[in-house]
C-alpha cells in the first residue's frame, strides 16, 4: 500500500526557493515519473519525499499519515540512487540484506528474502561478490534488490539509468517496467530523459524551476500539453513553434506542430522550405529545413525519402494536430 500525497510542499535553501509549493497525488501502485531539465528540482522533490531533506513547509502524506517530520527510515520507502550507492565493503548478499538486518529480521527471513530478490533480479550467482566485481547493470540490479527486500510502500528511483550505456539503459528500462508490473508497488522515478518518462510512466509530472507544469498520462501530455514548455519537452524531436502569419491565421500568438505531424511534398503545400540536413534512418527520415519566413524547422517523414541539401520542398501541418499558445505560452483550446 503506498498512496502518497504532497500538500503545499515547499523547500528553500537560504533565500532560494527551490520548490515554491507543490501539490501532488500519487495513487497506490502507480508508476510516476518526475521529469524536467536538470536543476528543475525533481531530485530535491524526491529527496523530500524520502526524508533526506527537510521540507520547509507543507505536508507529505503516505497512506494518509503526515511523515514530513519523520526520519527517512520510518517512512517505509526504498530508494535507488543514481550512483547505486552500494556498500563497497559488503558482498552483494550483505548489501541486499543490510536493511533487513537493520530492521532486526531473523536470519531465516533475511536468507529467504534475499534469495527471492536475487532470483527476480538474476543475481543468484553473484551473491558472494563485492560490488566492485560487478558490471554496471548488475550493480544497478543489486541496488534495486536492496530496495525490493524491504517491501516498501513505494520505490524511489533517482535517475537510476543515467550511468549506464545506451543499450543497457533500454534493457534496464524494460526490466524496471516489468518489475513494476510484477510487484505492483508505487514507484516514483526521477529522470531528465523524456523517453524514459514516456515509456515507463503511468503518470508523468513535468517540473520546471520547482514548479509542476503539468501532470498526466504520457499520451495526454503528448496530445494536449498544457503549455509551451511541456509541449517542447515531451516528444522527440522537439515540437516546432511558428509565429507570424500562420499563428495569426489560427488566431493565437504562436502555434506548435510536431515534426511527425507535417506532410512533406516536393510539389506544393502551405510552407515553402529548403532542406539543410537530411538524416536518413531507414524507417524514417528527419529533415532539418529552413522554412521561408519561419526559420529552422524539423520534420519527420516515414520511410526513405530521396531528399538532400538545397532541395526545395513544401510543408503542410496536419490541421487537427496544431497546438495553439497565447503570449504567455499557455495552451489555447483547439481551434
Amino acid at each position: 500500500m503506498g498512496a502518497i500525497r504532497l500538500e503545499k510542499v515547499k523547500k528553500t535553501f537560504g533565500t532560494l526557493d527551490v520548490i515554491p509549493g507543490v501539490d501532488l497525488d500519487i495513487n497506490d501502485g502507480e508508476f510516476v515519473v518526475f521529469v524536467g531539465p536538470s536543476g528543475c528540482g525533481k531530485s530535491t522533490l524526491l529527496r523530500l519525499i524520502a526524508g533526506l531533506e527537510d521540507v520547509t513547509d507543507g505536508k507529505i502524506l503516505i497512506n494518509g499519515t503526515d511523515v514530513a517530520n519523520e526520519a527517512p527510515a520510518k517512512r517505509g520507502l526504498s530508494m535507488v540512487f543514481q550512483s547505486y550507492a552500494l556498500y563497497p565493503h559488503m558482498t552483494v548478499y550483505n548489501n541486499i540484506a543490510f536493511g533487513l538486518k537493520m530492521a532486526g529480521e531473523s536470519k531465516e527471513v533475511i536468507e529467504e528474502k534475499v534469495q527471492s530478490a536475487a532470483k527476480i533480479l538474476n543475481l543468484t550467482d553473484y551473491l558472494e561478490r563485492r560490488p566492485s566485481a560487478l558490471s554496471g547493470g548488475q550493480r544497478q540490479r543489486v541496488a534495486i534488490g536492496r530496495a525490493i527486500v524491504r517491501n516498501p510502500a513505494a520505490f524511489l528511483f533517482d535517475e537510476p539509468l543515467s550511468n549506464l550505456d545506451a543499450a543497457l539503459r533500454v534493457n534496464m528500462r524494460l526490466e524496471i517496467t516489468g518489475l513494476h508490473q510484477e510487484l505492483k508497488t508505487t514507484m516514483i522515478y526521477v529522470t531528465h530523459d523524456q523517453v524514459e518518462a514516456m515509456t515507463m510512466a503511468d503518470k508523468i509530472v513535468v517540473l520546471q524551476a520547482g514548479r509542476v507544469e503539468q501532470v498526466g498520462k504520457p499520451m495526454d501530455l503528448y496530445n494536449s500539453p498544457a503549455n509551451k514548455f511541456v509541449a517542447g519537452f515531451i516528444g522527440s524531436p522537439k515540437m516546432n513553434f511558428l509565429g507570424g502569419e500562420l499563428a495569426q491565421k489560427h488566431s493565437c500568438h504562436e502555434i506548435g506542430i510536431r515534426p511527425e505531424h507535417v506532410a512533406v511534398s516536393t510539389e506544393n503545400g502551405e510552407i515553402p522550405a529548403t532542406v539543410k540536413i537530411a538524416e536518413h534512418l531507414g524507417a524514417e527520415t528527419y529533415l532539418h529545413v529552413e522554412a521561408d519566413g519561419y526559420g529552422p524547422m524539423t520534420v519527420r517523414a516515414t520511410g526513405e525519402v530521396p531528399l538532400g541539401e538545397h532541395d526545395k520542398i513544401f510543408l503542410t501541418p496536419e490541421q487537427d494536430r496544431i497546438h495553439r499558445f497565447d503570449a504567455h505560452g499557455l495552451a489555447l483550446g483547439n481551434s
Partner: protein, 290 residues
C-alpha cells in the same frame, strides 16, 4: 544539504572535540594572559605583583626577540624550501623504475620515524662532531679541515637536521601525488611536442600543487615549534644564532623561571602563529576547497 535533525546531530557530534580543544586552549591561555601581566618568578612564589604591560615591553624590546623571530622564519622557510624541492626530486626519482625500489623507499622514509631528540643526538655526536665525527673524517679524506658545524654554521646545522627529519614526509606525499598523475596527460603533452622539462613545469608541477600545499601546511605547524633539535645541540647559541621563538620562550620559562616574561612571550608567539595561520589559511582555502 541535509535535514534539521542531522544538522543538529552534526553539531552535537562535533561539539565534544571542539569543546575539549577549546578548553585545552582557552584555560591555559587565559591563565597565561593573566600571568603575563604579573611579575611572577617561579623561584619567588608568593611575590607576584601586577606590573601591567612591563613583561611585554621587556620581551618586545629584547634584542633576542628580533633575532629569534628572524631565526624562526629562516628556519621554517629554509626547511620548507629544502623539503619541497628535495621531496619533488626524490619523488621523481622514486617514481622511476629502480632495482629494489620498495626497499629503497623504506630507507628514504625512515628518518620520519626518528624521535627528534635522537635525531639531534646522532647528528651532533656521531656525524657533525668536528673531532671524531663522520663528516670530519670525510673532510680529512679530501685533505680539508673539519667543519666546525655548531660554531661556524649553527643555524645551517639545525636546518640540515630538521630537513632530514621532514624530507621523508614531503617525499611520501609528493610521491603519492606523482603516482596519481594521469599518464594520458603526459602523453598528450608529448604529442604536443613538450620536452621533459616543459612537461614538468606545465603538467607535473601544477598537478602537485595541492600536495605541496599540504606539505607546507603540516610542516609549518610543526616547524614553528621546533625545539628538541636546538635544545640538544646548540642550546640556542652561539649567541642567539639558533634561538627561535619557541626556544626563547623556553629560556624565559625554564632557565630564568620568569613565568611572567615567558607568558608574555608565549602570547606574542600565539599572535605570531595566528598571523602565519591566517596567511596559510588563505593559501589553503584557495587550494583545498575545490
Amino acid at each position: 544539504m541535509s535535514t534539521r535533525a542531522s544538522t543538529l546531530t552534526g553539531r552535537i557530534m562535533s561539539a565534544p572535540s571542539i569543546i575539549v580543544l577549546f578548553l585545552w586552549m582557552a584555560v591555559p591561555l587565559g591563565m597565561t594572559i593573566y600571568f603575563s601581566f604579573l611579575r611572577y618568578n617561579l623561584l619567588s612564589p608568593g611575590m607576584e605583583e601586577w606590573i601591567g604591560t612591563l613583561n611585554y615591553e621587556f620581551f618586545l624590546t629584547d634584542p633576542a626577540f628580533f633575532a629569534s623571530l628572524a631565526n624562526t622564519l629562516l628556519l621554517v622557510g629554509s626547511v620548507l624550501v629544502i623539503t619541497v624541492v628535495g621531496g619533488i626530486l626524490l619523488g621523481l626519482m622514486l617514481d622511476q623504475p629502480i632495482f629494489g625500489r620498495g626497499i629503497l623507499r623504506l630507507l628514504v622514509i625512515a628518518p620520519f620515524f626518528i624521535m627528534p631528540t635522537v635525531n639531534a643526538l646522532v647528528w651532533k655526536n656521531l656525524l657533525m662532531d668536528p673531532v671524531s665525527g663522520m663528516f670530519a673524517w670525510i673532510a680529512s679524506l679530501f685533505g680539508l679541515p673539519a667543519i666546525d658545524w655548531f660554531t661556524n654554521a649553527p643555524l645551517t646545522s639545525i636546518i640540515i637536521m630538521v630537513s632530514w627529519q621532514w624530507l621523508p614526509f614531503a617525499v611520501l606525499i609528493l610521491l603519492t601525488a606523482l603516482q596519481s598523475l594521469d599518464r594520458d596527460q603526459k602523453e598528450a603533452a608529448q604529442m604536443d611536442g613538450a620536452g621533459p622539462i616543459s612537461i614538468f613545469f606545465y603538467i607535473t608541477l601544477p598537478h602537485l600543487s595541492r600536495a605541496i600545499t599540504v606539505v607546507v601546511l603540516i610542516e609549518t605547524i610543526f616547524l614553528l615549534t621546533v625545539f628538541a633539535e636546538i635544545f640538544v645541540t646548540t642550546g640556542g647559541g652561539p649567541g642567539l644564532a639558533t634561538t627561535n621563538i619557541a626556544f626563547l620562550v623556553y629560556t624565559q620559562a625554564l632557565l630564568q623561571f620568569d613565568v611572567g616574561g615567558a607568558s608574555a612571550g608565549g602570547i606574542v608567539a600565539v599572535i605570531l602563529a595566528n598571523i602565519v595561520a591566517i596567511f596559510l589559511i588563505r593559501l589553503i582555502g584557495k587550494n583545498l576547497d575545490n
